[in-house]
Amino acid sequence: MNLPIYLDNNATTPMDPRVLEAMLPYFTNKFGNAASRNHPFGWVAEEAVDYAREQVAKLIGANEKEIIFTSGATESDNLGIKGVFEMYKEKGNHIITCTTEHKAVLDTCKHLEKQGARVTYLPVQSDGLLDLALLEQHMTNETILVCIMYGNNEIGVIQPVKEIAAIAHKFGALFMTDATQAVGKIPVDVIKDGIDILAMSAHKMYGPKGIGALYVRRKNPRVKVTAQMDGGGHERGMRSGTLNVPGIVGLGKACELCLQDMEADTIRLSALRDKLEAALTVMEESYVNGNVNHRLPHVANISFKYVEGEGLMMAMKDLAVSSGSACTSASLEPSYVLKSLGLSDDLAHSSIRFGLGRFTTEEEVDYAVKVTMDAVNHLRELSPLWEMFKEGIDLDSIEWAEH
């Protein structure tokens, strides 16, 4: 077992060596510009791009003509949301999203508010799921887009996208989903799920960084997004810029491997995740955040009450995880996703996200459990809050001095 152990696979994943192998020729021998129509260098590149487009489309049940390559999920989110807002502004200006979305969605919506959009940020329930009745209440004839993520990056909760899409369509709105964390991990099917626009990224699924895709539906209905970059009119005019051929080949290969390995990976990773979670929640005052039944197979977000996440991570030596605490930022604000679930600030500050991946082993998980338990116990020995809790003092009864 090599240290440190990487358990932050929701931040990024290592690239699968098979993906790298597929990409390598496209940096050197096969370096052509996919838009060069007049010589074999261009044709070879174009062929590789076409093949990758099919691999991506196949993973999500789309047609290859519906795949637009971008630089990643952030660009895809921007292009999808801004592109719809500009293309459909005759119809209306209302967008619905929710408070646990990624910043790439939330900040894009905030940007559009300055341009005249009306945006509804729906709260989620305490388990992280969207309340469908609440969504329906907020739908109007002016609503042009409902944008709700597939799987959450912090807690892994999977939204009922099929039902959400049905509600959006009932009111004549488009349904977009940021599926960055879900694609490649669980079955995502744009037809069955009723998805009109979907954002995804390669580096969350064992592919390279700097490449992603936007799925834009071509029929029933035919969806169009206004380009956000002017230039050569690549990608059916929706995204100009010379195609990142090695990246695209890598994304395609990553999709193919995910499709091939998904079932086995899911069975193995959810078993390891459950083992980790069961072992850690044996400890007093530790809580799993988010709905545990509708969840990505490889994520566990756990709050260890009365210890602070950043301090905890420091004690979890040789484990790369992430925390909902944000003691380094000027605001000291903990995770807005956890706060959206109604978690008190102290529980949000006490959270650790464990993100397992294709290359995580059982030995690593066992080691992580041991290190985490030792760290929590060590820090609770140091924690005045733990002492007060043990003495039966109600922490809410204390008048804390805010600073």
Binding site: Y306, V307, E308, G309, E310, G311, M314, A315, S325, A326, C327, T328, S329, A330, L332, P334, S344, D345, D346, H349, E381, L382, S383, P384, L385, W386, E387, L395, I398, W400, A401, E402, H403
Partner: protein
């Protein structure tokens, strides 16, 4: 962000972790910060008849820098008179632990905890609480 060796040392081997009997008149207790801010420090001092600090203990809920700041504070407090202890400045802690700018608030909290503990002792023993200049936030 990488931590300095001194922060890691105090964090890994915190000095003077523990609890003094807060009901005793010779003990002053400072409890500062708030759970929702992600930092709570409790710092306690035991003072003799000459107003010299003979023992100091802490417990801290917070990040590594907060734990290290309070651990260091207890080391510095022992053997100091309460008047000298009142002069400990948060920037001394920043310098000693090489805290980066985003962690300065940890040292501020430690200074606040020292002053709160001393004032608790003073008030318990019929002295007025001292109001000090606000630490360098």
């Amino acid at each position: 962000m990488a931590y300095s060796d001194k922060v890691i040392d105090h964090y890994t081997h915190p000095r003077n972790v523990g609890t003094l009997d807060k009901s005793k008149n010779t003990v002053g207790t400072g409890l500062v910060g708030a759970p929702e801010c992600g930092d709570v420090m409790r710092l306690q001092i035991e003072v003799n008849a000459d107003n010299v600090i003979t023992d100091a203990k802490f417990k801290t809920f917070g990040c590594g820098s907060a734990i290290a700041s309070s651990s260091l504070a207890t080391e510095w407090l022992k053997g100091k008179s309460i008047d000298d202890a009142m002069k400990i400045d948060n920037m001394d802690i920043v310098e000693e632990l090489a805290l980066p700018p985003v962690k300065i608030h940890c040292s501020v909290l430690a200074e606040d905890a020292i002053k709160a503990a001393i004032n608790d002792y003073r008030v318990k023993n019929g002295m007025e609480a001292l109001v000090s200049e606000k630490a360098h936030h």
